[in-house]
Symmetry: C2
Subunit: 192 residues, 2 copies
């Protein structure tokens, strides 16, 4: 068992190093070699965990998804009987770059977006957005007050993305973005 | 007079080349030398028009602003007595990456955003967003139906940014983004 823990920790440590490289040097700079250097481990060790750059990128993206899921789970556990609006609120609040780690991830994800990622990481990103869209739409349907759940989902997810971009660009304070997101959620779900 | 026309045309030709370099090779790759090569002119000619990389970047951004202003002016000239909603609609529709030139500019602007541009171009970008915000808010105030023009402006501009990002990322068809933008404008201005 301790070896398995080590394994998972190592992979996360490498994923964290990958995000730092992507953030500081750009996505094109991400290679097994540079990530190894950033993580302070040998190239051989990185290759032991990841057969290719694609596999490493994919894992790093999955790690973000898992962290988001974990933090959402923790936030929901503190709520009494959360409904669709609460669940979507918890999820989308994660999107706003509130601390340095999330800023780094958000910057890298915009870099993916503008760079047009191919390979498994690109597929993961597109599938992830499609799943997020389906999930939010299903919650809006479950809530049952929005006349056009699909349209409301498109607007709400674009709003969250744009607020994130404007916080990153320094155009918006995180608190203003947070308030705008709450208003957007209320508007997407319709009058309760 | 012909010489002045040549001058303006040359500068625009160089600005177009700059956006192509930024889009294909990233913002860090933008230099007087590479832009000259892309434009098919000599380094000396580029230096004749621009004293520095910063000056060239700033001009390229101003050129986008001028194109947007020109196209908005043309769209508004075709409308009979446009009001605040029409004017904001015309302006924000320009934001969506509907053709290859706008896609290229939008990708580069996201690169600026995530890269955190310094120098005069960064100041221009931040001032431009602040001016856009003030302008849209003033139009919403002039329209007179929104209870919270400032909050409505924050939401509307973030929505336009996010829709642009989702079109660029291939998550949204331009028509869906267009429909969501119209709904967002109607919602920002409030019931007419």
């Amino acid at each position: 068992m301790p070896r398995q823990v080590d394994h998972a920790q190592r992979r996360r440590q490498i994923a964290d190093a990958l995000w730092r490289v992507a953030d500081e040097q750009g996505l094109d700079a991400v290679s097994l070699r540079r990530v190894a250097a950033e993580a302070g481990v040998s190239m051989g060790l990185v290759q032991h965990y990841f057969a290719s750059r694609d596999e490493m990128l994919l894992f790093a993206m999955e790690a973000v998804g898992e962290r988001v899921a974990r933090e959402c789970g923790a936030a929901l556990a503190e709520m009494a009987d959360p409904g669709p609006r609460d669940r979507v609120g918890v999820l989308l609040r994660q999107w706003l770059p509130a601390d340095e780690q999330r800023r780094r991830e958000a910057r890298s994800q915009f870099a993916f977006l503008v760079g047009g990622v191919g390979g498994p990481a690109g597929t993961f990103l597109r599938d992830g957005m499609a799943m997020l869209r389906a999930h939010v739409e299903a919650e809006i349907v479950a809530d049952g007050h929005a006349p056009d759940p699909r349209g409301a989902t498109t607007i709400l997810l674009a709003l969250a993305e744009g607020l994130s971009a404007h916080v990153l660009g320094g155009h918006l304070a995180p608190e203003e973005a947070g308030a705008a997101l709450e208003a957007g959620i209320a508007s997407a779900f319709g009058p309760a």
